[in-house]
Symmetry: C2
Subunit: 348 residues, 2 copies
């Protein structure tokens, strides 16, 4: 059923039917009723491509699937982000177009998007420090918004980010308060802006406390389970091992837990662990105090916020860049809900 046959069935012109269905004011209420009813009855839905061709809009937002380069694995929270984003895009009639890039020529995809008119805007994930996608997109004039920021990029662009620096500063401060002095940082690839910022927060907290970061306790790599496991194992073997861990990925966190579990059993070692992204938990004498950032839901939330911002940018081409810094949640309590911070101190 297309517009033509619907119009014929109603004995009206395509123009009128189209107007009635799209809420134009010049249609009489009587005909509008009649048309809408018939549309439902016949199950008429306008063809997406025809509509897009006529209006010049794709009603699609593009996104390149972000895989960590080597292992080609996708960040497990990607699904949550996408769920949040597409939920709010849907409210504006938009869907999400996912593409995968063979090599590292992501720029080619954006040029294609633009040239083919395949999408009305794009979402950029996991920007690097000095990410060059931003300049490209600004240049080709494809509306976009970055999930995260890119240190070193001076030209204006829209972004929605979580305050990673603050989150890690606070988490480190919390551990320091508890008496920890040897705090390990299991970080992601620091060419990625968010990892870069997390380290910054960690170092800030240490320096504010008059301590300097021990290079031996900081490591950076792709966030695999293996990475978390190996690094933790190695660090626990130091003569002055860390008493707490700060980590930024639920995947690596599994590895850390595995290593700790092993260490406790083998060495009877009593260690604390603090984990960012999904849950931060502090373990002391077998009593666990979960501190969590509930990142899966906050990533989802970021997706929602970002989608709304992008819709604004698209509806108004002259809209100034939107920059939105989301407060990092850092709640101490059980994973069923926040609770007051318990200051469990490290025994001297």
């Amino acid at each position: 059923m297309n517009l033509k046959s619907l119009a014929e069935a109603l004995g009206l012109s395509q123009t009128t039917v189209s107007r009635a269905l799209n809420g134009y004011p010049e249609v009489s209420e009587a005909t509008r009723k009649r048309v809408e009813e018939a549309a439902v009855r016949f199950g008429y839905r306008p063809n997406s491509r025809a509509k897009g061709l006529a209006t010049g809009r794709a009603m699609l937002i593009g996104q390149v699937i972000p895989t960590s380069t080597q292992h080609e694995m996708v960040n497990p929270v990607f699904g949550d982000f996408v769920a949040g984003a597409s939920q709010n895009l849907a409210q504006h009639g938009y869907d999400m177009l996912l593409t995968r890039v063979p090599g590292d020529d992501e720029g080619k995809v954006y040029r294609e998007f633009r040239a083919r008119g395949a999408v009305d805007g794009v979402i950029i994930q996991a920007p690097d420090v000095k990410d060059d996608r931003i300049a490209l997109l600004n240049r080709i004039g494809l509306p976009f918004i970055v999930h995260g920021r890119s240190t070193g990029v001076t030209e204006p662009y829209s972004w929605v980010d979580v305050n990673n620096t603050q989150a890690f500063r606070r988490a480190t401060e919390f551990l320091l308060q508890l008496g920890h002095r040897r705090i390990a940082l299991i970080n992601g690839l620091e060419r990625m802006d968010f990892a870069f910022r997390r380290r910054k927060g960690y170092i800030q907290a240490l320096e504010n406390a008059g301590l300097s970061a021990d290079p031996q306790l900081m490591c950076t790599d792709e966030m695999t389970e293996q990475f978390g496991y190996m690094k933790t194992r190695r660090m626990l073997a130091f003569e002055d091992p860390p008493t707490a861990f700060l980590c930024a990925s639920m995947i690596s966190a599994v590895g850390i837990r595995r290593a700790l579990q092993e260490a406790q059993l083998v060495m009877g070692r009593d260690v604390s662990v603090i984990i960012h992204d999904d849950d931060l938990s502090y373990l002391r004498n077998g009593e666990e105090i979960p501190i969590f950032t509930a990142t899966r839901s906050s990533v989802r939330h970021a997706g929602e916020v970002l989608a709304d911002a992008l819709m604004q940018l698209i509806s108004d081409p002259d809209h100034p860049p939107i920059n939105q810094l989301l407060e990092a949640q850092l709640v101490v309590g059980s994973s069923t809900g926040p609770a007051p911070l318990k200051a469990a101190r490290l025994p001297s």
Copy 2:
């Protein structure tokens, strides 16, 4: 730059240019060269919607984002599946269209897809036992393929699935071989077909060994960390607690590990854990033998296989249903690679 202006710039008709670019044989090699070169030079790319309107194909595969109903969280391997699928779709010029359904009227989305001609086919995720989406899609005639199967559906349909029954039967057998008799099953929602099948495999293995499953050791719920944690805690408190755990989600596995870590510290308890999806690991006296199914990469692989199958279905409307059962990987070794199975026996 569109076809018209490209044709004008070349002093050729749109027809010829179109033909040259689409590899029609009747174009002279000389003009084809000339056209292709000019297309590159001008950065010409055919408009997606115009092309789609003319050809009647959307070059898009639809997919509804699968969220577990209550918590609205997305399975963390979703990204890996999508990466695999869209990689192979891209080889055929297809992209993926993601939609989120507000309520539970997923059927409405598929009708829309069909009526609007928004996609050429769809991928169905996480089918329930007796999933009714299958009948609907068969009825409305939208090509589709299911990632997983649906026990109880008799009409033919295409699917790509992993042998979950076998995987869990084998894992259970392995634990039995090692001397375990009290094996816990931390399962997903058993209305979902894959969870249903996993329990089947678990029970099969027990019965083959002349044992019957203890209802106390089987639980099923949404795969949250909390779920894994709480159930493990509870089961460890039994007077005859499990000595091994079989789990089907990396998220719940974190909870299980957390509970075990705690238990070891508090109770000095020595437990084994076996985890499906991402890693199966066996822990004994502090010596860990990882047994893993590498599910993140195998889910990715499933996405690739499924995409290829769907491309076949779409290119040939009369193609009979494609059913492909992927062997579940069950490898014993380190997480860097497979190694021979070590039969670490439980002390009697």
